[in-house]
């Protein structure tokens, strides 16, 4: 009897081991640079309360030697380090923590240059990578003052001082604002390198929000949509890839044209979206909402304005009304997103562009691009996450902020910040670090709302650990007075995207 029991245990163990091996053979989660894995056309990964769907629209991707998956610089990193399919082509703090523990902090994602709070900190300590591990933030060093394409300094409307420097990088003699090469370090989340046809759509000669010319693609000479990156500093996917390789990968030699093209080609065919929910089951089903799942993203047209009843931002969820608890909740959340009115106030580049302050509207007014919920116009907005007093950081000085704090003082001959005046305290001046304009302080490009459940934390500064925290911020910021049920509905809706 005892022998039989032991045999059963052995067989069970063998089955489990084989099962794990089988899963490992066909299921890649964290992709290491140079691993040579082949990514299937359609893949699925666990995400919060469900599954993230990843679609390679061009078919299976052989990562062997592929420049997106191969280190092209000196620190062992490749694009994939920060843009992992399993995390919606971004990276989550849960994944980063796992990598830290698994590799004892040696994974290239923790590279000193920008995967730590500052390169001069002891790199073996977890605390030196706290912003990445706790908030998913990479250091973005930006030269100050900003430069034009020809290298000349841009005129700047304000002075900037470092008033709080928890990472030490902004006051560092080597890396800081007063170093030989004056640099401002801000800390931001990597944006999903997926669904990009939507992100780069648009491209009108003039930017409605600023009344100025849009940037142009240096290759084509055509105006670009300026919705790429948190501060729209790169005009195209190609320039972004080049800049990321030279910066994040610390390359000493520029990648070849073919390598850049292959990277862009790969990024441009990846679609990610939540594809199933633990209670709701598959999300992209016939007769259901037309926007759910990655296939819908592949098939839909980019550049469609969704702030209208005819073409709602994420299509109609009416077919889910009155169904099971989860689907009905998502449908109510979609209605809140489209139709729940509130006073949108003091948001630069929304209230300032001729719409008035306050503006009685809905979420869809700003998140108006169909399928992704970005802004179809060049989309940097100061929604208040970065600037005091509405920022996401602790509200009093007695509590410590993990982020640096800068004091911006607008010059007398410049227009002040529209709602904060001439002196602004901010954890990230956002677009202003590129434009040099006071009006842009704290403005960040809106990001897409797809695959959210797989890539917490949220906001460009990683301050919202959950979708609940995102909803709470907006509720507080715009005094929306959402009920608990409305919040749950919104969270379920956002999580289904």
């Amino acid at each position: 009897m005892r022998r039989l029991f032991l045999i059963c245990i052995f067989l069970l163990g063998l089955a489990l081991a084989l099962s794990a091996q089988y899963q490992n053979a066909f299921k890649v989660t964290w992709i290491e640079p140079g691993s040579g894995a082949v990514l299937p056309e359609s893949d699925a990964f666990d995400s919060v309360e469900g599954t993230l769907g990843v679609l390679n629209a061009s078919g299976p991707v052989n990562t062997e030697g592929h420049p997106f998956f191969t280190p092209l610089g000196t620190n062992g990193r490749a694009c994939v380090n920060c843009h992992q399919p399993t995390y919606g082509m971004s990276v989550s703090t849960s994944g980063l923590l796992q990598r830290w523990r698994l590799t004892d902090g040696k994974d290239p994602v923790f590279a000193a240059f920008d995967g730590s709070n500052c390169p001069e900190l002891p790199q073996n300590k977890e605390s030196s990578h706290s912003l990445l591990l706790k908030r998913g933030l990479f250091r973005i060093p930006l030269s100050w003052p900003p430069r034009n394409a020809d290298g000349s300094a841009k005129p700047v409307e304000f002075t900037i001082e470092v008033v709080k420097d928890p990472t030490g990088c902004n006051t560092s003699p080597q890396y800081g604002l007063k170093s030989a090469e004056p640099t401002i370090s801000v800390y931001r989340r990597p944006r999903p390198a997926a669904n990009l046809k939507y992100v780069i759509s648009g491209g009108r000669p003039m930017v409605l929000k600023t009344g100025m010319l849009a940037d142009v693609d240096p290759e084509t000479g055509k105006p670009v949509g300026m919705n790429l990156m948190s501060d729209a500093r790169e005009p195209s996917l190609k320039t972004q890839a080049l800049s990321a390789i030279m910066g994040h990968e610390e390359a000493r030699v520029a990648p070849s044209r073919q390598q850049i093209e292959r990277i862009v080609e790969y990024e441009s065919q990846v679609y990610v979206a939540q594809s199933a929910h633990i209670f709701g089951g598959p999300l992209a089903v016939e007769g259901g909402p037309p926007s759910l799942g990655p296939v819908a993203l592949r098939d839909h047209r980019a550049g469609v304005l969704g702030d209208n009843d005819c073409d709602p931002v994420f299509g109609s969820f009416d077919s889910w009304k009155g169904t099971d608890y989860y689907r009905a909740s998502v449908a109510r959340g979609a209605d809140i997103f489209m139709y729940r009115q509130f006073w949108l106030r003091d948001a630069t580049h929304i209230n300032t562009i001729g719409l008035g302050n306050p503006l009685k509207r809905t979420c869809a007014t700003c998140h108006n691009a169909q399928m992704t919920g970005q802004d179809l116009s060049a989309g940097w907005v100061d929604v208040g996450t970065m600037n005091y007093p509405t920022w996401t950081e602790p509200s009093t000085w007695a509590e410590s902020s993990e982020l640096p704090v800068f004091k911006i003082t607008c010059k007398r001959d410049a227009d002040p910040h529209p709602y904060l005046g001439r002196v602004i305290y901010t954890t990230d001046p956002g677009r202003a670090l590129i434009s040099g304009r006071c009006v842009d302080v704290g403005s960040i490009v809106m990001q897409q709302l797809r695959g959210l459940a797989a890539r917490a934390p949220y906001f460009a500064n990683g301050s919202a650990k959950s979708l609940r925290a995102v909803v709470d911020f907006y509720d507080r910021r715009f005094d929306m007075k959402l009920s608990d049920e409305e919040k749950e509905d919104l969270i379920n809706f956002l999580g289904a995207l």
Binding site: L305, R345, I353, G354, G356, N357, P418, L420, G421
Partner: protein, 246 residues
């Protein structure tokens, strides 16, 4: 006799003009909010919330507003005396005292609004094809600005595009961009002068846009001194003109 009638008419017109600076007041209604402002003990109706494509761009709380408008015939709207035509300029500096948001009240309704406070009920215009104006030789395009501002509003954006398109179609030999700043005479007699350097900034901005739209033969000029004010048509002098000569 004619001179007398003219003078009388001028005095009446001036008497109907309201040029003042005050905090805007926002009045919520069942539909879209109304924007109002008080002057000299009276409440004036400025307009309602709409889209940026609308001619009226509402003022902003946290800022005073310069109102330049003429008392219009007809009943009060949202409790205020309507002004039409009207020009609105947001005063740039922040004024936290401007923070009045009133709740809806029975009997106070906004006028019918093409767009409510939610999503638009209409599919957005898909590049409405407007007939191209005939090539009629020299044409002047005028971009208007809010007081003390060089921000190109939606309407100005359209003007710049139209000027560039006309210049391209006509193969313009010469495009002259001229910038101005101006004076506003308030109803209380005070005179407000736009800041120095603004005429140049406006002109250079427009020239940059036109170059970006593909024009090259642009002459840029500006008038340093402010245009005079008359208290009636001052908004029309805060401008940049683009003269296209084929």
């Amino acid at each position: 006799m004619r001179l007398g009638l003219f003078l009388l008419g001028a005095v009446v017109a001036l008497g109907q003009q309201r040029n003042f600076i005050s905090c805007p007041i926002v009045r919520d209604t069942k539909t879209v909010p109304c924007f109002l402002a008080e002057y000299d003990g009276e409440l004036y109706y400025l307009g309602i919330q709409q889209d940026i494509t609308n001619e009226f761009h509402p003022p902003q709380l946290k800022h005073e507003v310069l109102v330049e408008g003429r008392v219009a015939d007809g009943p009060r709207i949202c409790g205020g005396i309507p002004l039409k035509p009207i020009s609105i300029s947001v005063v740039k500096e922040v004024n936290l005292a401007c923070n009045t948001l009133l709740p809806p009240e029975p009997g106070i309704d906004a006028p019918p609004a093409p767009r409510g406070a939610g999503p638009s009920s209409a599919r957005p215009n898909v590049a409405a094809s407007t007939p191209r104006p005939p090539l009629t030789g020299r044409q002047e395009f005028t971009v208007l600005y809010q007081f003390n501002d060089d921000y190109l509003e939606y309407a100005g954006n359209a003007v710049v595009n139209a000027a560039a398109a006309y210049a391209k179609r006509s193969g313009a030999a010469n495009v002259k961009v001229s910038g101005y700043r101006a004076t506003t005479v308030l109803s209380n007699g005070d005179r407000l002068v736009e800041k120095a350097g603004l005429a140049e900034k406006r002109a250079q901005n427009i020239a940059t846009l036109l170059r970006g739209l593909g024009l090259s033969n642009i002459v840029v000029e500006w008038k340093d001194g402010p245009e005079p004010g008359d208290g009636q048509s001052d908004p029309s002098r805060r401008r940049v003109t683009v003269v296209v000569t084929p």
